[in-house]
Amino acid sequence: MTRRIKVHTFGLYGTEEIREVGPEDAENILKDTGVDPFRRRIIDLRTGEEIWEIRPDTVDILIVPDLAGGG
């Protein structure tokens, strides 16, 4: 069975969005976000900690949003 990783993001539609990607795509998300000047963090939701690589046990990742609004 092909491995899938859930990616949790916020922002485009104003609510949490979850999509499933393969490990390679997850690695690319990690690289793209890592070089973002704003340096958004990627969190492994299983541990709640920041990650810099997709590990064999990574199943759920969250990109920390950049929230400017005060409501």
């Binding site: 916020f10 922002g11 485009l12 539609y13 104003g14 609510t15 949490e16 000047p37 704003f38 340096r39 958004r40 963090r41 969190i43 939701l45 709640g48 900690e49 920041e50 969250l62 920390v64 949003p65 950049d66 929230l67 400017a68 609004g69 005060g70 409501g71």
Partner: protein, 259 residues
């Protein structure tokens, strides 16, 4: 007067001692939109001794669905939010010293405006202001509570100088183009600032009371999806602010848009 707070004092984590500490505390709330409305009303009702509210904006009808401090009369009167907030809050709790200040907070006036505050609550609407708050609070060792909101979600984090990571440890600097109005792009629902501002208000009370073991995580909650995350933030070893380099308070700033 104690009767006003009797239910709050009965809450064991606060008690009479905690109530006294709240009463002798002074806070500044930066921004009085959705987040600032809920924070200000929560802390004034809770009996925080002095509440200063700083906001540059004027009320508009599209604020009313989420900015719970205000009403249609305030909009018709074209009142600044800081003025309307002060009026309403003084009626809520006359024993609290409420001061509304109509001002555009920036690196030149921030140290004067925040002087004397025990705690700063961020309810601003842009990242550059937040980095100015961050540097000021680190410089003067004032704890502050970050808050941001958009759509149906919000996030909050306590920043205690010398103890926790700071905002620059989370975000190294403002995003390109500084996103000033996410609400115009993705909209916002009223309960999002209410839940996020409530997190900030509770953390403020805990910090003012001196509760041990305050929350050190970044909190993200989506009220529409019913999801809640606690994110462990680590110190950024090269963080200029944590090393005493307050670049956002300097005349030459990191970005051209700073005032």
């Amino acid at each position: 007067m104690i009767d006003r707070y009797s239910r709050q004092i009965s809450f064991i984590e606060i008690g009479e001692q905690g109530q006294k500490r709240l009463g002798s505390s002074s806070v500044a709330i930066i921004g009085c939109g959705g987040l600032g409305s809920i924070i200000a009303t929560s802390l004034v009702r809770a009996g925080v001794g002095k509440v200063k509210i700083i906001d540059r904006g004027f009320l508009e009808y599209h604020n009313l669905h989420r900015q719970i401090l205000y009403d249609e009369d305030d909009v018709c009167s074209h009142l600044p939010k800081a003025v309307a907030a002060e009026r309403h809050l003084k009626k809520v709790n006359s024993s609290v010293e409420v001061e509304g200040i109509v001002a555009d907070l920036n690196r030149r006036n921030i140290e004067g405006l925040l002087s004397g505050a025990d705690l700063i609550l961020d309810a601003s609407d842009n990242f550059e202001t937040r980095f100015v708050i961050n540097d000021t609070c680190l410089k003067h060792k004032i704890p502050w509570v970050y808050g941001g909101v958009a759509g149906s979600y919000g996030m909050s984090m306590n920043i205690i100088p010398g103890e926790t990571p700071c905002l620059r440890c989370v975000y190294h600097g403002p995003p390109a183009g500084n996103i000033t109005s996410t609400h115009e792009r993705v909209g916002i629902i009223g309960p999002a600032p209410i839940i996020t501002g409530s997190f900030q208000s509770v953390e403020a009370m805990k910090i003012l009371i001196g509760v041990k073991g305050i929350n050190r995580d970044l909190i993200i909650a989506d009220i529409w999806k019913g999801t809640f995350y606690r994110i462990k933030i680590t110190l950024w070893r090269e963080c200029p602010s944590c090393q005493g380099k307050y670049e956002f308070l300097a005349e030459t700033t990191l970005r051209g848009g700073m005032k």
